[in-house]
Symmetry: C3
Subunit: 142 residues, 3 copies
C-alpha cells in the first residue's frame, strides 16, 4: 500500500556556497519507511536553490561558484532590484539558472543517487540565513 | 488512501515575460481534494518554460528578463535554427536554462511554496500564444 | 489502486551531444501498466544531464550545443578541477545549467509531453560513456 508523507527540514547557511543535505534527506526516507517511490524536495526561498552535484572533490564546487560569479556579477549597471543589497538580484538569477525543486527516485529504501552525486543547498546570499525545505515522500512501505 | 489525478490547464500569453499561475494550480489542488502529496506541472512547449520566482516585486522579474536577453541575444551569428524568426532559437535556449517541469509538495491541501515564491510560466516568444500545462496531483485525500 | 515501480535504464553515449530517450521511458510506462500518475527520471551522473527539448529539427540542438560551448569554454583560466581533462569541469557546469531529474505527468498510459517535445540525455564528455538512469513510476493502473 502507498502512503504520502510531508516533512519540513531546515539548514543554517553562513554565506555563499554549497551545503550538502543528502544524509538529512535520506534520514527522512528511512523515517517514512518508504522502500519504493519518490522524494520531492523544494527549497522555499528565491535567493537559494538546490543542485545535484559532484560531492567528492570540493574543487568542482569552487569552480562552479567562480563561474556563476562571473556569469552573474554583482552591481550590474542594469539591475533595478537593488534595495536588499548587491547580492540580492544575482541571488534570484542564480536560483533560476540552477533549480528550486528536485525529484529523486527511491528504491530499496534509499535515494537513488549516483556514486559521486550529492544533493546540495546552494546559498546565494552573503549573510547567515536559515533556509527551510518542504519534503514530500510518496511510495510503498512494504 | 492515495489517488492520482490528471488535469490540463492553459494560459494565454501576449509577449515575452512571466505570467503567474500559482492560484490556478492551487485551485486544481483544492479540486483534487489531496491534502498530502505532490503536484507535478509540465509545460508542453519548447519555447516557454516554468520558473519558481520572487512574486512580490516586479523589478526582480524585469531584471531577470534583462539578464536573459543579454545572455541569449537574438540574431547571434552562429544560429542556424532561424526559420521561425529571431526569437525562435533564443526561446529554446532560455527554456533549457530555466525549466520545463516543477514538482511541488502539497501539505494541508496547499502547495508548499515559500511566502514570496510564485510559480510562473515564462513566455519566450514575442507573438501571443496559448500555452498548455499538464498537471499531475498524487496524494492522500483524508 | 496506486502502485510504485522502480526501474533502471541505461544508454551508451559516444561524445558530446543529445540522445533522445522518450521511447525508452514510454516503454517503461507501458510495462508498469500505470494509466494516470507521474514518471520521475534521474540521471545518476554529474557530467551528463537531462533536457526536454525540441525533437523535430536537429538544428535547434546543434545551436544549443554551440551556445553552451561558448558559455562554458574548456580550458578557462580559473578552472582548478582539471585532473580528468579539459571537458571535466565544463561538464559539471553544463549539467547544473540544464537538469538532472525530470518529472513528467502520465495520462492515458503515456508521458504527457507536447507534440515536439522529447526527453534527451545530454552528454557533456567527449569519451564514450555508459549512463544509467533511475526511473520511478507511480500511479493508478486501472
Amino acid at each position: 500500500m502507498l502512503t504520502a508523507f510531508s516533512y519540513e527540514a531546515s539548514i543554517c547557511t553562513h554565506g555563499i556556497g554549497t551545503y550538502e543535505i543528502t544524509d538529512q534527506i535520506n534520514r527522512l526516507v528511512v523515517k517514512s519507511g518508504v522502500r519504493t517511490g519518490v522524494a520531492t524536495i523544494l527549497i522555499q526561498h528565491t535567493s537559494a536553490s538546490l543542485i545535484l552535484f559532484e560531492n567528492a572533490d570540493p574543487s568542482a564546487r569552487a569552480d562552479l561558484e567562480h563561474f556563476l560569479r562571473r556569469l552573474v556579477p554583482e552591481n550590474s549597471a542594469y539591475f533595478t532590484h537593488t534595495l536588499e543589497g548587491p547580492d540580492d538580484m544575482p541571488s534570484h538569477i542564480r536560483m533560476v539558472l540552477t533549480t528550486s525543486s528536485e525529484s529523486i527516485p527511491i528504491a530499496e529504501g534509499k535515494l537513488q543517487l549516483g556514486i559521486w552525486q550529492g544533493l546540495f543547498v546552494y546559498e546565494h546570499r552573503h549573510d547567515p540565513m536559515q533556509r527551510t525545505l518542504s519534503v514530500s515522500i510518496i511510495g510503498e512501505s512494504g
